[in-house]
């Protein structure tokens, strides 16, 4: 794209959303305590940025740090307190 004439109408792009690495904005990082985790996937359901990954049924959830903004919703919603928010520089 070089000028406004090259832009698509309707504000769409053909890039994948994965290409925008919003994880660089983060100051707090969710850390999952696998001893406490019951694999209920509540964190996966609530993550507003689709940054909790469950690769196969029965697997533990993982955090996609390229896109996790560190909002802490997963930590807040975890029914067993398995996710704590840690300062990036403390990890």
């Amino acid at each position: 794209m070089e000028t406004y004439r090259d832009l698509p109408q309707s504000s769409y792009t053909l890039q994948s959303t994965e290409s925008v690495r919003t994880g660089t904005w983060r100051t707090l990082q969710p850390v999952i305590d696998l001893k406490k985790c019951t694999r209920c996937y509540t964190c996966w359901k609530f993550c507003p940025d689709v940054s909790i990954e469950v690769r196969e049924e029965g697997d533990y959830p993982r955090v996609d740090l390229d896109h996790c903004k560190g909002c802490g919703i997963c930590s807040n919603e975890c029914p067993v307190g398995a996710i704590s928010m840690m300062r990036e520089d403390a990890i």
Partner: protein, 395 residues
């Protein structure tokens, strides 16, 4: 076929004739009877549309943006606080270039709570990127919806449109309306077939993050589309005239402006009253006319300049107020005409807020005020409030 109906029924009939495919609406006075009528039409299979019952106007607009992305022709209607609640989504619809058409049954914004007409709700949304067409009567409440789809869905425009009818004055008042035949409308308005719609075989992301290096270019394209819409409205209006015999080929309708010494610019239903007042003034030998601004967004600069070439005293009647300055239409008209010679007089009048009646006598007094201004060259105020209980008995 000519029938007797309210402005709201006329709006619902227009949506039906346009062949809308998705309606999402939340009822709010004085719009409610539009959503009721459309729900009834869907229930009775009079239109093959999906009616989405939503919990708020914000959701109504969000649902229509999604439906429009799927390639559906969409419609909704709202008023006042409901329109204000849509505010965020109005920007989304315009930025996403979705040609959604919405009737706004204009109503005052609270507090104080008031369900009657004025244009504060609509003017409050003038900068959202929507086109804004104002109706004078119930016939226009129907016709302008059909025109709105024609202009909005033009591939060079692709912008959403508000068709504004005055609450209760049009929405709940019966008038004769000429309803065009469905086949004729189908010919005038072919099915919606946008270039951009969701295609599961070719995934795209919509409305996604844009870095500062491209946002201005998206905005610039919206500006270009809005500019093109002026010509497209005039073209669609001429085609409408050929198809249905009613002329909408200009963004500003001139009424008795030939040789006028003063002209009043006005929008909405009050234009009809101002026309009667102009007739009475002409009978008394006073040369005045009315310029009905049918389209406020895009702003009709060129037609306005043409009007002002022949008339040097112009009044602007706003049924709204922009706090801290004056009527929005007044300030924009004045701004548009600023480059003309210094002998041009432009004065603003605010009136009819919250459904306050504006009579022929009020307009006769405004015309007299304008003619005095023309002779003396002096105005007591740049903006006067009409019909205000201030004890001065001026009006």
């Amino acid at each position: 076929m000519i029938d007797l109906m309210t402005g709201n029924v006329a709006a619902a009939k227009a949506a039906m004739l346009a062949g809308v495919e998705v309606v999402a609406a939340y009822p709010i006075t004085p719009q409610t009877s539009i959503s009721e009528k459309l729900a009834e039409m869907v229930a009775n299979d009079e239109i093959k549309a999906k009616y989405i019952k939503v919990e708020s106007e914000h959701s109504a607009m969000a649902a229509l943006i999604g439906a429009s992305y799927m390639g559906a022709r969409t419609f909704t209607a709202t008023s006042s606080q409901g329109l204000a609640l849509m505010h965020e989504m109005l920007f989304w619809a315009a930025g996403a270039r979705r040609p959604i058409v919405m009737t706004v049954v204009s109503r005052s914004l609270g507090p104080p709570w008031n369900i009657w007409t004025d244009h504060m709700d609509v003017i409050g949304e003038r900068d959202t990127g929507w086109m804004q067409f104002f109706c004078e009567n119930n016939q226009e409440a129907l016709d302008l919806i059909l025109l709105a789809y024609k202009v909005a869905e033009d591939k060079e425009v692709m912008l959403p449109t508000m068709v504004i009818e005055d609450g209760f004055i049009l929405s709940h008042t019966f008038e004769k309306v000429d309803i065009p035949a469905k086949e004729e409308v189908d010919f005038f308005l072919p099915p919606f077939n946008p270039d951009v719609k969701v295609n599961f075989r070719k995934p795209r992301r919509y409305g996604s993050l844009v870095m500062p290096d491209w946002t201005m270019e998206f905005r610039y394209n919206n500006y270009l589309a809005m500019e093109k819409a002026k010509k497209k409205f005039a073209e669609a209006g001429s085609a409408f005239s050929k198809a249905f015999g009613r002329d909408y080929s200009s963004l500003i309708e001139s009424y008795r402006c030939e040789g006028a010494e003063a002209v009043l610019i006005i929008t909405g239903s009050a234009a009809g009253t101002a026309k009667v007042a102009a007739d009475r003034m002409r009978e008394r030998g006073k040369k005045v006319g009315v310029a009905k601004m049918r389209v406020f967004r895009p702003f009709p600069n060129e037609e306005l300049l043409k009007l002002a070439e022949n008339v040097r005293t112009i009044g602007v009647f706003d049924r709204s107020y922009t706090f801290g300055y004056g009527g929005a239409i007044y300030s924009e008209v004045r701004n548009a005409l600023f480059s003309l010679a210094a002998d041009l007089k432009v004065k603003g009048y605010i009136g009819g807020l919250g459904g306050r009646d504006v009579t022929e006598t009020d307009f006769e007094k405004i015309f007299d005020d304008l003619l005095t201004l023309r002779r003396s060259g002096l105005a007591s105020n740049q903006v006067d409030w009409v019909g205000l209980k201030d004890g001065s008995m001026r009006w």
